[in-house]
Amino acid sequence: MSDSQNPFVRVQQDDFDLTTEVNWLRNEHADVGAVVAFVGTVRDINEGDDIQQLELEHYPGMTEKALEAIRQQAHQRWSLESSLIIHRIGKMQPKDQIVLVAVASRHRENAFEASHFIMDYLKTNAPFWKKEWTPEGERWVDARLSDEQAIQRWLKD
């Protein structure tokens, strides 16, 4: 299966609609009682500076593969009915949606844990790079130590 045929992992310029995606995801399986959806959005301030624009770059092929690997890890670790990752690329403005991670399961605990896990790993393991425009010019966003630390909690259990 080529990455472009995987409807559960999508890297795209287009925006997404939360209702549409969550309904699609939970209708994939009958026995869903819980859906947790994470939406990451463009903040209008970062590191104290006004953000005018954001640009997301990725590594076609490897990015989709990395996202699918993270998703598979989540399905091995928790009992899930279905899950979905959509990540946008290209230029975005403050308040725009960047990423959606949605997980459907029978009971809420698994959906909360798995969606959190997927986001934490996406932040450190999926090849995306952010550039932001401030009044002082453009700059590449630095990786955050807190993102590196966030995945530590998943290694303990």
Binding site: H58, P127, K130, K131, A143
Partner: protein, 82 residues
Amino acid sequence: MVNILYFASLRETFGQAQEQVPAQFRTVGELVQSLAERGEQWRTHLLESNAIQVAVNHDIAHRETPIKAGDEVAFFPPVTGG
């Protein structure tokens, strides 16, 4: 030949997104050593940087990872998506 890709800040620093080099290096480490000889920028950002990441054929790699003709080797800074 080996296909090399540079992403994000590395692409801008080196002024190129992609290049092909002869497949004369046994490992990622040997390739990096050769690229570093191009000058200051290359040495600083590829050889002396602890942060830089390497992937061979879409899998995260390291200096000892073997490379062969037809491989795709990508260099990039720490990821910042999501």
